[in-house]
């Protein structure tokens, strides 16, 4: 059940690495830190770099259907500093990510309920000046979310992708020192962890009546009988039908994992035998 994290800057990643006690894995071209099922990549700044590193991590890690992927980082907020409820250090989960350069918007699927407030995030190509704050939808402005999301959505369902931003400024273009960035991220980590846990608790859908062992058995039979893809699917569905209609485990089919077939006809004959055994009528 991997948890994947894509973070732009070392300064943003450091508190996360410390919190999860991740260790650098030098076998990757990109900076990757990991421990058990948590993987973190430092992507570099900008949408393109974020997309590349995210896609590369996704391609390398063995994913299962519970994999979740998060982007975490600092962002500016369009609200004037003393003009509203949002302050530096506040954190948000993105419910809409707009790529300013193309005008396209993307929507993570918000099935998990997290402790985080939500916001629009607009991804810009270079830091947004205060004077240009009105050119984007009110909310956060960052430089990675849109690239990150598009790469992530190529691999994962939209409810397994999260983007968390910590407000670092109100579009004042002063540079933040690294320690300050680290503090901001560190202050968000409890909620960030809770968000990860919430995402991980969401199942993808209804559970298959066939267990992992059943599916393995069906695969073993497929290999033994050299079944075509469509026959393999039929066999899986026959097995499901058997379990669902009888409300019981599969009958003993292990003998089909020992037979050897030489011709297609022999395979067909064995398949018909299986069909008889699994038929519910």
């Amino acid at each position: 059940m991997p948890v994947l994290l894509a973070i732009a800057l070392h300064a943003e990643a450091r508190p996360v690495i410390e919190r999860f006690r991740l260790k650098q894995d030098a076998s990757y071209d990109l900076p990757v830190f990991r421990r058990d099922d948590v993987w973190l990549t430092v992507t570099g700044t900008g949408s393109m770099k974020s997309a590349i590193a995210t896609a590369s991590l996704l391609a390398r890690v063995e994913r299962d259907e519970d994999t979740v992927l998060f982007n975490l980082g600092i962002a500016g907020h369009t609200q004037q500093a003393a003009d509203g409820p949002v302050s530096v250090g506040d954190r948000f989960l993105a419910h809409k990510i707009t790529e300013r350069s193309t005008g396209r918007s993307f929507f993570p699927d918000l099935l998990a309920r997290t402790p985080l407030a939500e916001s629009v995030v607009t991804t810009v190509e270079r830091p947004l000046e205060r004077a240009d704050g009105g050119t984007v939808e009110p909310g956060l402005a960052d430089m990675e979310a849109a690239g990150f999301y598009q790469a992530a959505a190529t691999f994962l369902p939209p409810h397994r992708i999260g983007c968390v931003k910590v407000v670092s400024d109100h579009l004042e273009t002063r540079r933040l020192d690294k320690n300050r960035v680290g503090e901001l991220i560190a202050g968000a980590l409890d909620e960030f962890e809770a968000a990860i846990a919430a995402y991980r608790s969401v199942r993808d859908g209804r559970q298959d009546v066939l267990t992992g062992a059943d599916l393995q058995l069906v695969e073993d039979i497929r290999d033994r009988l050299r079944l075509t893809v469509s026959r393999h699917r039929m066999l899986s569905d026959l097995a499901r039908s058997y379990k669902l209609h009888n409300g019981s485990d599969l009958p003993d089919l292990t003998r089909f994992t020992h037979v050897s077939v030489k011709t297609r006809q022999e395979g067909d004959a064995q398949f018909e035998r299986l069909r008889d055994i699994l038929s519910v009528e």
Binding site: V3, K96, A112, E137, P157, H159, G205, R206, Q207, H245
Partner: protein, 346 residues
Amino acid sequence: MRNLNDFGTSSRWSNFSHLYIERSAKEYPLTRRIRERFAKACVVEIDDYKTVFARPRQRFQAQKESMKLILAVKKDRFLYDGSGNSQNFSFEDFHYNTLMFNCVYNCDYCYLQGMYPSANIVVFVNLEDYFIATREGIRDRSNPAQPFYLCISYDTDLLAFESVVPYCRAWIEFAREEPDLLIEIRTKSAAYRAIRDLPPTGRVILAWTLSPEPVAARYEHGTAPLNRRLEAVRSAIDDGWPVRLCFDPVLAVPSWSALYGDLVEEVVQRIDPAAVRDVTVGAFRLSKDHFQRMRRQRRDTPLLYGEFMQEDTTVTYPAERREEMTAFMRKRLGDHFGEERIFAWT
């Protein structure tokens, strides 16, 4: 290190925690009403409902547990021709419309799981455009001797959502103005009370789908129990509405004949058959494409596994089983309702 798995128990968002609203839908009265109704919902502005509804890799059943509401303006296709999988009741001009995508209920056998990429509910707020298209349809219908027949709860259960989207009410009022229109509103709800204050009209048929209670309880998640559906049927009849009873789909569950036989008995004990306009019967059937897509997502329900056959583009039970089921229902219903009021899909 903290173990991520130990971080408390987390929850899901409840239904309609988020409203996605097309920019162009913002000013419609229904949008305002829904925003008030779900005042705590998080509102996300969108350009086009498809950017949310048609995202790749969404999980229909995962979304069913936290459905979002998407408010949109439908741009075209305000009327569709009736599909071959439904009875046309001998009407030449048989149409349906899609005022909403998806349904608040979650029947195991529902083809919407195989039809849509998402379980989120899209409500089209520009009702007036549907009315305009329907008036044109009525005017241009092919057989002026017959009414223009329109199902408005075809791919959804509109009455079940009436408290949020009062479209049944709006269409009933519309039908009062249109002498050549005949509307069907089909439901598995008991929400008749939501329209009970309206005087009945012969231009709207209220249709209830009826299933044996064990079937409803196990496979028609969220719907009203049979008992409550029958109470609603009775109220509607008492108030003077034309009522249709739909035994459709009839499902090949174990002991189906006993279950459906008992269902007919219960119905005729509680409802006066003479007061029912007509009855429909149909064995479970689906389009091939929907069936295949549903099976990929639903590996947990016996209704989609077992003996099926394909006829053209329709998947259904093998002919013998289907004919047996249809004949059984026709006979049982015919004893009470008379053959001429039974419309069967065979």
